[in-house]
């Protein structure tokens, strides 16, 4: 198997102030990793470090130069003052393959339309992003992420603002896209059920206690960890 992303003795944090480390992690092609932890545990900091948006305080994050990330941020992060349409926002995902100063080609537009179709958002293309429901926003952001033909799909709390039905639809869509396109997935969530149902590898993180564990579900989600981090008793049947 090929490692797409490797963290070697990485300490994560802000402004050269270490928050948690040293961390070691190898993400192989095709794996589905779920990142779990309490609120404020350092999940998003880890994600930003992996994406290269935040420099590691120490250690090294190794990714292939040609690796393309498809990023699904939390929909609340977008300022609703912007009257951007779904097509415009999905087009932005394609910009990973279009340099600054260049315009989208006909081929790019085909990929954008294909992403809209694949996520069932083609009928929403002329709606403004801010007018969509939580589930529709997540599907549009998923379309944006895959329009750049990524190697790794990175999702930051993709089901945080949607109901259970919408959550199931989004996660089913992520699963289908992953299997169709052979994507590697890295998903941050504080919903234990969602992560354990869909991910095949788990990262459990808590900066307050200095805890970091990455591996298979039985290895990470031990009775002790379920009790410590999620208040679940032994035999909760979560896995």
């Amino acid at each position: 198997m090929t490692n797409l992303i490797e963290l070697e003795d990485v300490t994560i944090g802000y402004e050269n102030k270490g928050m948690l480390g040293p961390l070691n992690l190898a993400i192989e092609k095709g794996q589905f990793w779920g990142v779990l932890g309490p609120n404020g545990s350092g999940k998003s900091t880890l994600l930003k470090t992996v994406l290269g948006l935040l420099p590691a305080v120490s250690g090294s994050v190794k990714t292939s130069d040609s690796i393309v990330f498809g990023y699904v941020p939390q929909s609340e992060k977008f300022d609703p003052i912007f009257p951007v349409s779904v097509r415009e926002i999905v087009s932005m995902g394609r910009y990973v393959r279009v340099r600054a100063g260049k315009n989208l080609s006909a081929s790019d537009m085909e990929h954008i339309t294909g992403s809209l179709e694949k996520t069932g958002t083609l009928h929403l293309k002329d709606r403004t992003f801010r007018s969509l429901s939580g589930g529709e926003k997540q599907r549009a952001l998923l379309a944006r992420a895959i329009s750049g033909e990524p190697d790794v799909l990175v999702l930051d709390e993709p089901t945080a603002s949607i109901d259970i039905k919408g959550e199931a639809q989004i996660m089913e869509l992520v699963g289908n896209i992953r299997s169709d396109d052979g994507l590697t997935v890295l998903m941050v969530s504080h919903f234990l059920n969602t992560v354990t149902r869909y991910a095949d590898r788990i990262i459990l993180i808590d900066k307050d206690t200095g805890y970091f564990k990455a591996g298979g579900k039985p290895e990470v989600l031990t009775d002790h960890n379920l009790s410590t981090f999620f208040g679940l008793g032994a035999g909760s049947g979560i896995i």
């Binding site: 977008f78 349409s85 910009y95």
Partner: protein, 283 residues
């Protein structure tokens, strides 16, 4: 003779200032969309004041008899340089010893405003000139402005058309733009520098008040009127140009200060846009 026919027959008086005002209103309306969408209206207020400071400083230095340096202390050059430097500073720095960027911009606005008034007190030409800079009185404009302002506006628009996709991208989602290795800092700086240069030339010709109002009110109005981003830009350009043109017309026929008249016209469009939006939401 009716007011309108009197106005038309005096076209040789208002042609140049009307051109300068309309072009300034249009280009400020365009650039102001970024100002409003990026929630940096205070930046435009600070830039207009810093531009005013540049013009006032130029008058002051001229009064000191620095004839040898006259080409460097020309109001256009000094104002453009100072405003552009401020724009670069605002674009480059994000935090200042735990003081928010907004706080630093406020500091820039206040110190520039204070300095303009102090310089105005020292300028031999008198406070009247400073009042014109601050509040605008484009009854007549420098003949060169008829060429300089459209040229600067055209250059700014070309840059914004070429990099439209990139400017919207970094304004809407800077984080993903950085993930995609876009030159985010450069793009942000270019946006602010184009605003700064336009502000500098327009403030010298029209005054700080109308320029600030053109940067803020037409974009806000157009956001009431449409849900399409490209239309927001187009409508804002039209409202900016109309505010300047009508403002000048009312100033001419009612003998009221030009800059204030332009700002009030932009405000009237804003109120009409707000009412239209309220009616649309309720029906």
């Amino acid at each position: 003779m009716g007011i309108l026919s009197e106005f038309i027959s005096s076209y040789f008086l208002w042609r140049d200032p009307m051109i300068v005002g309309a072009v300034s209103g249009a280009v400020c309306g365009f650039l102001g969309v970024y100002v409003v969408l990026r929630r940096i209206i205070f930046v435009s207020a600070a830039l207009t004041q810093i531009s005013s400071f540049g013009v006032a400083l130029s008058f002051y230095l001229e009064g000191l008899g620095m004839g040898v340096l006259s080409s460097f202390i020309h109001p256009f050059i000094l104002s453009t340089v100072l405003t552009s430097l401020a724009a670069v500073f605002f674009a480059m720095k994000r935090d200042f010893s735990r003081i928010s960027q907004e706080g630093v911009i406020g500091f820039g606005f206040l110190i520039a405003s204070g300095a303009v008034i102090i310089l105005g007190d020292r300028i031999t030409k008198g406070a009247h000139d400073i009042a014109n800079i601050l509040f605008g009185n484009a009854v007549v404009v420098d003949p060169g402005d008829v060429y300089i302002i459209p040229a600067v506006a055209l250059a700014a628009l070309v840059i914004h058309i070429v990099f439209y996709k990139d400017f919207v991208f970094v304004s809407f989602d800077e984080q993903t733009a950085r993930l995609f290795k876009y030159p985010v800092r450069t793009l942000n700086t270019v946006i602010l520098i184009t605003i700064a240069v336009v502000v500098a030339v327009a403030t010298r010709a029209l005054g700080a008040l109308p320029v600030f109002s053109f940067l803020a009110l037409p974009p806000l109005t157009s956001l009431f009127l449409t849900e399409r981003l490209k239309l927001v830009f187009a409508i804002s350009v039209i409202i900016g140009a109309l505010s300047a043109t009508l403002g000048y017309f009312f100033s001419f026929v009612l003998s009221i200060p030009t800059g204030a008249s332009m700002a009030v016209c932009a405000s009237v469009f804003f109120v009409l846009g707000l009412l239209w939006r309220e009616v649309k939401v309720r029906t």
